[in-house]
Amino acid sequence: MMLGKTAGGLFWMFRYLERAENTARLLEAGWHMALNRSSTASNEWQSVVTTAGVLNAYNQKHDEFSASRVIDFLLRDKDNPSSVMNSIDLARSNARQVRTALSSEVWEATNECWMILKQELARPVAERNLHDLLSTIRYRTSVVRGALYGTMLRNDIFAFSRLGTFLERADNTARILDVKYYLLLPSASFVGSSIDNVQWEVILHSVSAQRSYRWLHGGDISAQGIVDFLVFDRRMPRSLAFCAAETVRYLEQLEQEYGTRQESQILAERMSERMSQNTIESVFQNGLHEFLAEFIADTTQLAKHIEQDFSFYG
């Protein structure tokens, strides 16, 4: 038996942790790209902000895209609801809310992550310290994940935690692809020479997948290959198909534990089936952007249904 509020708290705690991690990764990719470029990188910084889904908030505050502004905005700006610090703050306050459902290792790892980042992000981060800081974020969030895996019961608590993670991740990967979709259109790859290797790197880097992509595809970097990998490859833990399958898995686990099949499970199964029935060819044919937009809308819908089905709120 679990309070609806507790389920909601776990779900959001892990969504926010995933978000913090994704934002850090996105920043790292953008940073990497900016360093490897001779001309101005302001368009790229704009696409980083767009991918993070905070373009409106950014535009309300700044009228140009520069490395230092974007970095500060994404890391620590209070006016950016998805900044790393805000996400970690929210993750921790959700964790406090559900403390009794967490093992002490998970709580302590979350609390320490917050304590350290609060200190590190108290002031703007100098460029020379950015790399270390981003590693700290990745490291500290991994500790929480490790504690979750190592110490938590595999029951509904675990299921709601993982659902939060995978819905956030699915949304994130889809948004990265959507912001870059013009680069991934077949026409671009036909032109061939116009493909900027740095851009491919950025996409793979922002989902921490350069190495795994190379492992599977060698040096053969193509639009189809990347989209196929990030959308359909079930071996890739950040692909849409993987996230959809995991979502189904944890909803099934809840069905077994609770003995009830919920609306959200049907939705998730439908999403996952669409993944296995679709092919990269048909996606390109019918429009990658349309495909991704639909996927993002479906994820949002699914999250809403989970909230209702399990009474997160009154």
């Binding site: 038996m1 509020k5 389920a7 306050s93 406090r96 403390r99 009830t260 009474s311």
Partner: protein, 476 residues
């Protein structure tokens, strides 16, 4: 404020003479390296931060979570001293529960003229809604924290009876846990009575008071918290966790089929016992404060029907109201037929003309408290106040004398803390925690020792610069 020594020091009788209960500890301490101990002290702080034993100070930025400073020198009580305190506390808590039952039923004590009736009738802590209500198990104050101070070898006084929602027990437990981790050798060497049974006993005494008509096979217990912004949220979560109870906010609760139920991922689940950490006024917006967002509408009706246990019962505040405090010796005698074992601090009721005159004349020597205040707020410490503060307070006192009581400034005992230069005496008080079941009273050996960290200060409240110590009761 500063006091002039000598006050009674619980460790040292003189420079080189140690009181008995401290002799083993003192032996150990004298051989320790101060540097190592200071390191331990810093370790303890990091430990508290990591597990998040912090509290929010009201009116401060929410992000500003503070630690209550912890001092690593324990406060030690001999088994003989404790046995007496235990008897006194037991007697007091029995009397308080009997008083509460009486005051909400036949009011024999008023008929007997032992307490002025207007002290009850016009008191905001008295809840007319509780008249004739029989709490499940017959217990009113399931959890009590009796504040004690000491002024000499055999002189203990009750400063306050906390029978609404006493806090601090999580510090008692975590302080012990910390000491066990840092100084295991001391626990091998000395016989120190454990405190770790508290959460289990709490769960048991709450379960023993569950309504008899419950639909649940096993009593379902929940801790009701105002939420994560409450200053004691850590403690609420801690106790729920340790008891294996649910931690709920009022938004998780509803009245379903005449019972209180919590909203779970699988629908509503009836609750039997609510250990509530919200004040009476925020319990039920239908019955008490219509402005409150914290309450559960209709919970009082369920309570009156006997379908939920609330711990502590609504209306217990009448028993620890400062206006009634001075009547405690009479209350104890009335219900137990015995003299009070633990003394009250002599108290002037400013509502009485003679007392008021005395208090006004001796304002600079007395401690004056608001009858409804708590946490050390709204209080005058005469010897520490300047002329302006005294005259301001005098005006308040003259305007509403019945709002105040006055007590002599007690020379609180001291226990050393680890200061920069080594051991340094600081004033302390003690809050033992008491659990009341239908047929049993459990008192955890020791309790929470609060210590005024500023030299000479008598104010031990955490909101005003107080810290805590682990409290050891020695075995026989």
């Amino acid at each position: 404020m500063t006091t002039t020594p000598p006050c009674f020091d619980e460790m040292l009788i003189s420079q080189d003479q140690v009181r008995d209960p401290y002799s083993d500890y003192y032996d150990w301490f004298s051989k320790e390296d101060l540097k190592r101990l200071r390191l331990k002290s810093a370790e303890a702080e990091a430990f508290f931060r990591k597990i998040g034993i912090t509290f929010n100070v009201y009116g401060q930025d929410e992000a500003d979570e503070r630690l209550i400073p912890f001092d690593i020198v324990p406060r030690i009580i001999s088994s003989r001293e404790w046995a007496r305190l235990e008897r006194g506390i037991d007697q007091r808590v029995r009397a308080i529960n009997a008083f509460l039952h009486d005051i909400y039923h036949r009011q024999e004590i008023l008929r007997a003229g032992r307490i002025p009736a207007e002290l009850i009738a016009r008191n905001a802590a008295f809840l007319p809604e509780m008249m004739g209500v029989n709490p499940p198990g017959g217990v009113y104050s399931h959890i009590a924290g009796i504040d004690l101070v000491r002024t000499g070898e055999d002189d203990f006084f009750v400063l306050e009876d906390n029978v609404r929602t006493p806090s601090g027990v999580s510090y008692m437990l975590e302080n012990r846990e910390t000491m066990l981790q840092m100084f295991p050798e001391l626990f091998t060497r000395m016989k120190i009575r454990p405190v770790s049974a508290y959460p289990r006993l709490l769960r048991r005494s709450l379960s023993n008071c569950a309504p008899e008509n419950s639909p649940n096979r096993k009593p379902v217990v929940a801790v009701l918290t105002p939420g994560i912004h409450n200053s004691a949220y850590f403690e609420h979560a801690f106790l729920a966790d340790q008891m294996g109870a649910e931690l709920v906010e009022s938004t998780d609760l509803s009245v379903v089929d005449g019972r209180i139920a919590m909203r779970t991922t699988q629908g509503f689940q009836p609750v039997d016992v609510i250990y509530r950490r919200v004040d009476d006024a925020y319990l039920d917006p239908l019955n008490f404060n219509p402005e409150s967002l914290l309450g559960v509408p209709g919970i009082m009706d369920v309570y009156r029907a006997g379908n939920i246990t609330l711990a502590n019962a609504p209306g217990t505040g009448i028993a620890d109201d400062k206006a009634l405090y001075s009547y405690m010796p009479d209350i104890i005698e009335f219900y137990t037929g015995e003299q009070a074992i633990l003394k009250n601090v002599p108290t002037w009721r400013c509502s009485e003309a003679d007392s008021l005159a005395y208090v006004l004349e001796h304002l600079s020597e007395l401690v004056v408290k608001e009858v409804h205040g708590s946490g050390g707020y709204g209080m005058l410490v005469g010897p520490a106040a300047n002329k302006k503060e005294l005259s301001d307070f005098e005006a308040k006192l003259r305007a509403k004398p019945a709002n105040y009581i006055a007590q002599p400034t007690l020379a609180l005992s001291t226990v050393p803390i680890l200061a920069k230069s080594g051991l340094a005496p600081r004033h302390v008080d003690l809050r033992p925690f008491v659990l009341v079941s239908p047929n049993k009273i459990d008192i955890t050996p020791g309790g929470l020792t609060r210590v005024a960290l500023k030299q000479g200060s008598l104010v031990v409240n955490s909101s005003q610069g107080g810290g805590t110590k682990d409290t050891w009761v020695l075995g026989d």
